[in-house]
């Protein structure tokens, strides 16, 4: 059925699931070349009661390696 993913996911989530799976299926020698290219990295800080909590870093490369 066309667009079957619409029931459960946003397009963005569906696209990232598909591209992660494609990357996982590559030959192991080629995977290391790609390690850096799809890394998402940002610094964020949560606010509570008008004060800022300490900033934290998120790196998608660390989570991707577990998959």
């Amino acid at each position: 059925m066309a667009f079957a993913w619409k029931k459960n996911f946003s397009y963005s989530k569906y696209a990232s699931l598909c591209s992660q799976t494609v990357r996982q299926a590559l030959k192991p020698e080629l995977r290391s070349e790609l390690k850096g290219s799809n890394n998402v990295e940002f610094v964020y800080a949560k606010w509570k009661n008008g004060t800022q909590e300490p900033a934290q870093t998120y790196q998608s490369a660390d989570t991707n390696e577990q998959k």
Partner: protein, 167 residues
């Protein structure tokens, strides 16, 4: 009269000033210049595979089904499924890329623009890794946790398309 005399008109530089500037005269929209051959541009976010490359035919795995695009195709926008994009260039050589999805836009100027998050040649995949992953995600797809099962079924769909392409 000179050929381009009507292409421009004089307007005052400012409403009350008597200084004039020449600006192009507005006309109707021009018809798009259609290229003789189908020009394919296949791009990923981090790499361009083809840039306005003349081809004979491109086979696309769209959400509406498998489509073969030849030159002078009607303009359209299609969402792609994970599958194989098969490119037949002018020397009849066929190149196959497995794309993880994306979009294909056919312009009236005979430019076909395919954009995908990931695309690799079929030789760059490993059948043994694919079957391992299939076993793992098929097990997850049967899980009772809805979220895990839904994600795993998407992955299984991609891997099944990939394994049939690799045969």
């Amino acid at each position: 009269m000179l050929p381009f005399m009507n292409a421009f008109r004089r307007v005052p530089l400012s409403p009350s000033l008597s200084k004039f500037v020449t600006i192009p005269r507005r006309g109707y929209a021009q018809a798009v210049q259609k290229n003789e051959k189908l020009l394919l541009s296949l791009a990923l976010p981090y790499r361009t595979v083809y840039d306005k490359f003349p081809v004979n035919q491109v086979d696309l795995p769209t959400e509406d089904g498998e489509m073969g695009i030849l030159k002078d195709h009607v303009p359209m926008v299609q969402c792609l499924r994970p599958g194989v994009v098969s490119i037949t260039d002018e020397s009849s050589a066929v190149s196959k890329y497995f794309v993880s999805g994306g979009f294909a836009v056919q312009q009236p100027s005979n430019e076909l623009s395919v954009t995908a998050p990931e695309a690799f040649k079929l030789e760059e995949f490993s059948s043994s890794v694919v079957s391992e992953l299939l076993d793992k995600y098929r097990a997850d797809a049967a899980s009772s946790d809805e979220k895990v099962a839904a994600e795993a079924s998407v992955r299984v769909g991609v891997l099944e398309a990939l394994s049939s392409a690799l045969k």
